[in-house]
Symmetry: D2
Subunit: 325 residues, 4 copies
């Protein structure tokens, strides 16, 4: 199956591994005549790249995006848009010492079960580096859904920032929750049964590495509320509260879409951890010298959350053109 593809009408297909030649995305289904420049795509990418602050990963990539096709004289042509980011600074020899070990919290165990093979270089396809391709595609989706406006932020950012120095010293990591809000939402997006807007967004968010869940509007708290309290009443100018989170019966109501996504702490930590090797014998796993260490991957997640949200909304917007005669 095309398991590296996302979307129905506005679709993205990503490719590439952490320490291979590069990563990229093919956007298939973007309407013609959308104005978009390489620079706008690059600006989104610059928001997620590692090495951008003192606290995040030291890998100093430039992540320079190249437009391989689909944009001509500043506009989309209706042809597939291929975007490509060459890998740099990717020395994979340092992974040799650990290639026979299961990495705690990592996917090489399950990849081996599934494929019988694992590209161990820096996480291979399982690396969060693949999300750069999503962000590049998201830049185009954002243009398409304008003036819908997506705002994602790390909850309790101050507190997390205050912990980073200690975490780096201890070689440990921490999780965080990203809250996302969409304003100026077009009414009528999403389809009522299996393409409910919540279902599509949930799928999109849970496809981001390290995401552990999602809740919309009142979310888990709704389970303890009464119907008389939870129902959003209709006043003359729409709904007066927003427990529903902007989606009703799977379809956008025009109220802001609100959801929250918890991210687990970074799996790659600098502390030694018990594990087994491929033969099942116990060993101690240590991150190779010079490995990147993000004490909190979630700090780079807002732009990824925004990108996937934009892609879902772009897709729903196009689909919605076919709902009525």
């Amino acid at each position: 199956m095309a398991s590296n593809r996302f979307g129905n009408m506005f679709t993205i297909t990503t490719f590439g591994e952490s320490h291979g030649e590069g990563i990229g995305v093919v956007i298939d289904g973007c309407p013609a005549n959308l104005e978009i420049s390489r620079k706008e795509i690059q600006e989104e990418l610059d928001r997620r790249r590692p090495g951008i602050s003192f606290f995040t990963s030291p890998r100093k990539e430039k992540d320079r995006v190249k437009v391989l096709s689909g944009i001509f004289e500043g506009k989309t042509t209706g042809a597939p848009i291929a975007l490509y980011i060459k890998n740099q600074d990717a020395d994979s020899t340092k992974y040799d010492p650990i290639k026979h070990l299961y990495r705690p919290g990592h996917a090489n165990y399950t990849y081996l079960e599934k494929y019988g093979i694992f590209d161990y270089r820096g996480g291979g396809r399982a690396s969060a580096r693949e999300t750069a391709a999503r962000v590049a595609a998201g830049a185009i989706a954002k243009k398409l859904i304008y003036p819908m406006d997506i705002c994602a932020e790390v909850e309790n950012l101050e507190k997390i920032l205050s912990l980073l120095e200690v975490l780096i010293k201890e070689g440990d990591s921490i999780g965080a929750v990203i809250r996302c809000e969409v304003k100026n939402v077009v009414k009528g997006l999403g389809d009522p049964i299996y393409q409910k807007l919540e279902a599509l967004l949930a799928c999109a968010m849970l496809s981001i590495p390290a995401a552990k869940g999602i809740e919309f509007g009142s979310g888990f708290a709704a389970a303890e509320m009464r119907g008389s309290e939870h129902n959003d009443l209709f006043g003359s100018f729409g709904m007066e509260t927003n427990h529903h989170g902007g989606i009703l019966g799977g379809i956008s109501s025009g109220s802001p879409i609100i959801f929250r996504v918890p991210f687990k702490p970074t799996s790659s930590i600098k502390q030694p951890q018990r594990t087994t090797n491929l033969e099942g014998k116990e060993e101690i796993f240590c991150l190779p010298e010079g490995s990147r260490h993000d004490p909190c991957v979630a700090l780079r997640a807002p732009v990824i959350v925004e990108s996937m949200t934009a892609i879902v909304l772009a897709d729903a917007l196009l689909m919605n053109r076919c709902s009525k005669i």
Copy 2:
């Protein structure tokens, strides 16, 4: 788009409205030679139907499933399996008095925005009645994934049951959380990027009416944990803890899959509620006389959660046959 379809390889397409002729499902992609009887499907259906206990909806349907195609001499043939449940006890005239009103917490507002039309009879397509078709399909999926074993239950069931009498008297409702665990999980299910097993399950769960979120394993709590605490270490017999919830890098690890889904309180309550009519003028909304009232829809949700989980796993199981040479 085929927005009433779910799955890639083992697919379901449902049809039917709450107060129309009936509801049904076409299962396309079930392998040939699976033993299944009408009775097994009926038994699953009997677990969800309203009117089964004192506390739930008084609608006394028999929900008798009919096999229209795809099963011959007790076995699937590889042809599409159509299952059909005729509607009974469906007097739709009682909905006439409210057909010009937006129903608080309901989808007629958003349906009108999307389609410019609404089948107001008992919620039409937006009714939870559609989930009966999923349960019928789920019965077949459960057979296919055997011996994987799905256990869903209402959290805090005792407490909720103790509240029901009061809720019925007050005409109010309450939400609940469903916890789901899958045992004997085949390793290697799910695909690493956009068909991550969490993404597929999240999509499936958020497609259930009234679901407001999902979390896997440590879930929202992971956001406050350290990496050194959250990573599940590999011992000689697999992983020793299960913060990851049975899915790592999007692929099943063989540990039990664990997730929780919050359901909002039933939207249809017996209390008068403020709303507006289709012209935007304020009115009071009252549920028509004789309408069904489920004080807690989530009580009927476990079998639906199990069914959608089984459908996701059946699909992933088939897809997994193509992962290796």
Copy 3:
């Protein structure tokens, strides 16, 4: 895979076997607010049913279509439309004597290879009876694509009709070519690479039982033409000739779409034929007493060709809504 489904946006999923309960179709993706009546669907169905003339199959079915969902007060609602035709006059016991034999020209040999099982009753899923479901769906597609106008006809009809009496006497059959022309074609339908309008129509036509090929415009004759002769020149009012058959670069040009489809002679003939049984031993195959015998299945094919064409065009029309900003 959803191999019983056709289309991207306007999709049909058919189910049912020749001698089972009945056959049906779920149309998913039809826009809301299209006016359509049960009677209009029935009228299309009446054009294909057997027993309608002296020369065609004696099976006297009524093929009465029932609308199970998706149409409310004479209009589509955006919900899936399920149409169902109950089987009648389907005595399957007569097939018992031949259930251990490979039927010449029939699919039971290949079904057994694929599925390890075969519903032998009257061809089961492989029966042309499945096409009734397509015709029912086609009736709705035709309404959607109005005023595009599809005209299909049997070539050399007079000659074929003059042969029928002899063929019936001899228990033999004959093939025919169906020519299809579409007028008032909307320009811009079809996508340039893998969803070329020719590719979609070719897929649709070769999915009809007994079809053996297709050619567009100049077709096979083009292979012997010069470019200077074949190119359709642009005059001030469009193209002056139509060798291209109405599709250029995969996209409709506005000229009439023209294609031809050859159908093989009916496989079920009344003459004894050599075959082998399931153990590979030679036997003589004779059609059971009272079996239907169509000396020329192609005579009933025009409405099927029209229906599949309408479904392709309806799908392309919806898709085309998303080609531009």
Copy 4:
């Protein structure tokens, strides 16, 4: 829609324009552990490239394929395989003089209708150059379907070759028929209704630029045959004749698959042709100086036909893993 994608399980998505940066393909769904080298892919590509003989186009590209992802240490990993071919020798300024004209036999007329924009440089996305990406993907598909063996050839090759010198002198072109045969076919490939193997192959072939039709086995001739003559009888070792062309009821029978595809004469000829400009005024169209001229594009088509056939069979082979319990 993902209209630049082909296949269900073994899928290809192509991108790139004739005179842009380059062209490429992402193969999503290839099983892990398939041995494949860059050299094997290059060898297939070398079979289709222009400039390879005296008679074909003078464009002297190297068409050197680069593996961007998905292959590690000589084997597929289960990750998407991206192949890329940089464009060279692509001077697009020469197209300036004709960018305001409809090109006879070309797609710029229909592209403008569809997209409101056209990348006029050398045909843009509509150029046959896109087929290089298919051939690269086909090289991998061929490895996957081994030992199935695909043989495509130009019919009447001698006669066509004898005409080429005259055609070049006259600036004219000619069509041809490609005949394709597949040996050692696995039984049971293809699905009975809309994914019939003929339907998939027809879709694949009609997606090749300049293809005008297809016929299987007896094809158009079947329309004039009797059933008693056309039915392939079963002897003790399978079928004794092959009018069915290797596919029965949509499923491969194990007999060789045989089909023929007519290609129209090359549209780009060196003779002046009447046309209109974008304003509808008549002009004379002349191919720009230095433009490539293939007097018979079909001469390069066999490897393209083989590649698309291999992709269809690879897809069907994977799908078939899910047909039985």
